[in-house]
């Protein structure tokens, strides 16, 4: 591509964006990004009763296999929740066994590289190590990247955001071809619940801005970032019902053995929130970032309209 062609295409894209601003063109663009090789068989898969890696294998199989989402040569980023210096039993971080299995399958699907990171809340060295994720990811062949310095982040604009207009997102996501969002299901003091959407706060640098400028709206806003995860996989093998997101003691944790998978981030969070309600009452109305995301057109909370596959192991 020579310079003239490049400039012209830039100008055209710019023009297209400004003219199509109000239309749904952008979401069509991003949706086409989400679905890859073939359409998934189900909108949402829920699995119960197995070990983390077994539940993932079952769920992805029901979704038509990882090749539906990851293509040969893809640069993949897997984003778990590694926020806290807590061991796996505390359910403060995503289960490392699940991460291992996801990474393995990505490589099996031909991914050229898999990167793993999280912008932690506790000391990043300790969180990476004590969560067990650093070790698990390295053993599975992924690169574990630091995310504790602003220089690892790139500024992107969030045109559809209401409170949040731009954000600094970790370069591992910005530079990736595909990324997979792997949160853990937890209670959260501020946002009430932390699931897939709240897990986005680990890809941004300035979390303080979120808290200071209507946290729930900002969580929904950041999810409009054009590069959507190809999959949201909610780890609910253990869930933290109280004192979240850090947790105090094992009395905060329930061994719930669940896993939820969907491309629709609103639907998967709604499903996981319903699941959470069996451990502790948490009205969905309180978790306002989910409904705010629905308003932004990010997905649906109406699970009845979706083609859901429920599997018990």
């Amino acid at each position: 591509m020579d310079r003239r062609k490049f400039l012209r295409s830039v100008a055209l894209t710019g023009a297209a964006i400004t003219t199509m601003k109000e239309a749904d063109a952008m979401s069509i663009l991003s949706q086409s990004f989400q679905t890859t090789n073939a359409a998934a068989k189900y909108d949402l898969v829920a699995v119960m009763g197995g070990e983390p890696e077994a539940m993932f294998r079952k769920a992805i199989e029901e979704m038509g296999g990882i090749k539906n989402f990851i293509s040969k040569g893809d640069k993949v980023c897997v984003k778990p929740n590694i926020g806290w210096d807590q061991p796996v039993e505390m359910a403060a971080n995503t289960n490392p066994k699940l991460i291992t299995e996801i990474i393995k399958q990505c490589f099996e699907a031909g991914a050229s590289e898999v990167k793993v990171f999280d912008h932690t809340c506790d000391d990043w060295r300790k969180s990476y190590a004590n969560s067990g994720i650093e070790d698990a990811a390295r053993k599975a062949g992924a690169e574990v990247l630091p995310a504790h310095q602003e220089s690892y982040y790139k500024t992107v604009s969030i045109p559809k955001g209401r409170s949040l207009k731009s954000a600094k997102i970790h370069q591992a996501i910005v530079d990736s071809d595909k990324w997979i969002n792997v949160p853990i299901l937890k209670n959260h003091g501020g946002a009430q619940l932390t699931i897939s959407m709240k897990n986005y706060m680990g890809i941004v640098w300035d979390r303080g801005f979120f808290h200071a400028n209507d946290l729930q709206q900002c969580i929904a806003d950041i999810c409009t970032y054009e590069k959507r995860p190809v999959l949201n996989i909610v780890d609910a093998y253990r869930l933290m019902k109280t004192s979240g997101p850090r947790g105090r003691s094992l009395s905060d944790v329930v061994l719930s053995k669940g896993l939820f998978m969907s491309q629709d981030i609103v639907a998967v969070d709604t499903a996981a929130a319903n699941f959470f309600n069996q451990a502790r009452e948490m009205p969905l109305d309180n978790v306002t970032h989910i409904s705010k995301a629905q308003q932004l057109g990010l997905g649906t909370m109406d699970l009845d309209k979706l083609n859901i596959r429920r599997v018990r192991i």
């Binding site: 809340c121 310095q149 959260h188 003091g189 979390r207 303080g208 094992l250 499903a271 069996q278 699970l303």
Partner: protein, 534 residues
Amino acid sequence: MLKKIRVTLSVIIVFLITFYFLDFRGFLPDSLTFLTEIQFIPALLSLNVIILLSLILLTLLFGRAYCSSICPMGVYQDFTAWLSKKFNKKKRYRFSKAKNILRWSVLSATVIAFIVGFNFLVGLLDPYGAYGRMVTHLFRPGYLAGNNLLETIFTSFGNYSFYKVSIYTLSVSSMIISLITLLVIGYMAWRGGRTYCNTICPVGTTLGFLSKFSLFRVQFVDEKCNMCGLCSMKCKASCIDSKKKEIDYSRCVTCFNCIEVCNREAMKYKIVKRKKKTLTDAVPAYTYVKEGLPLEFTNHNKTELPKIAVKTVNESKRRFLSASLVTGLAAGKLLAQQISGDILPKRELKRQTPIAPPGALSFDHLREKCISCHLCVSKCPSRVIKPALLEYGLGGIMQPKLYFDRGFCNYDCTICGDVCPTGAILPLSVEEKNHTQMGQVQFILENCIVYYDETSCGACSEHCPTQAVHMVPYKGHLTIPETDISICVGCGGCEYVCPAIPFKAIYVEGIDTQNIIEIENEEIEEIVIDDFGF
């Protein structure tokens, strides 16, 4: 041979201590902390009788081997002196009289200051502590910059074995004090070798007193010595009077340079026999002059000249010392003014009481034991420890305090107490640390985002390891923080993360005696989920 052993040992020890201070990635084993524990003042303060007795025994046997090889500041001086010789090949030392009045006054002043609780002087003069500060405040930024450079190079090739670290000044006052220490001691060493050890250092004076009676000493072999004076010229402690064939053992640091340089094997390191009072010149004086030696050295009037030289050197040294002291004090004062007049009033949350590191027990304990070596400052992985200015009072300048501008104290981390060589910060088990209260949370409702914006936040409670800050129902679906100081450990997670600007809505107030908190053990209720729930 003896010298080679001494040099090798010194280089290994100083390298390990320095690298131990700098090593933020844990390449070195934790057990290396014993290198800081075998330092004299730390052993004294932590009342480590075994180490203390070993050091005394070592000195009584072999002289001031401690000063030669174990003390990192001693090796720093040797390095500076060695460097000065690269610039001035003709450089040589000469015998000077012991400045015993100065030495003993500094030692007594230090002891008195320590007894009355003004530990700043001990911390300032202790060679290990001073060296630790030099590493922490002067060498460490360079080490971190080197790490960042390597990170840039390696990362650009897709290798992530290095990660970036931020570099910033922790405390301007401590940095200035470290710089002055480096320059003053460095200058003295450049000019006259072990001047600091033999005029100021309280440890040097103490061990010097012992080494006068040590079993092994460097001695003249009368029948071989022709009093050429080479030994005296090589003596970095300026303690060999070759004309009288006398060595001031209180200043000799057993560096063995004299033995190495002597052409006639007229110096031996051996067990002292009972002194013979006879002084016989076996070889006539000044018969052997090494080539290249300036003539005046052999010609000068041997009684008068050295005295004059000593006097003039002293004048300028004194002026230099007092000038640097005045500059240091003035700079400190200026800084204090700047801080109190500029930064603080803008912040509404003004910590009234500093927060001592976990395991410091009380301010009194800290003030009494800490020599401000800043190993805790260097080693804190969350980088929340920095030197105090006047928060602990005058005697506590440079002693460690917690601040939460760049992080907060990790709940399960016990490193500061593990590494502290003086016992100022006692080692805690994780269990003890989890129950140690070093500060108490304070909530300012009118600054809180949930209160004035009526939007969700909860960042403080999110970070609270004990839920001393927890969210309770507020308007509508909002929740607002509520605090319970009885279970607060004072880690500062809430303060660090509070996004309210310009004034934070939550902060930790220090307490002068740390408490043990009781955290209720909640019973684990069995919850079985066997449905999807949707």
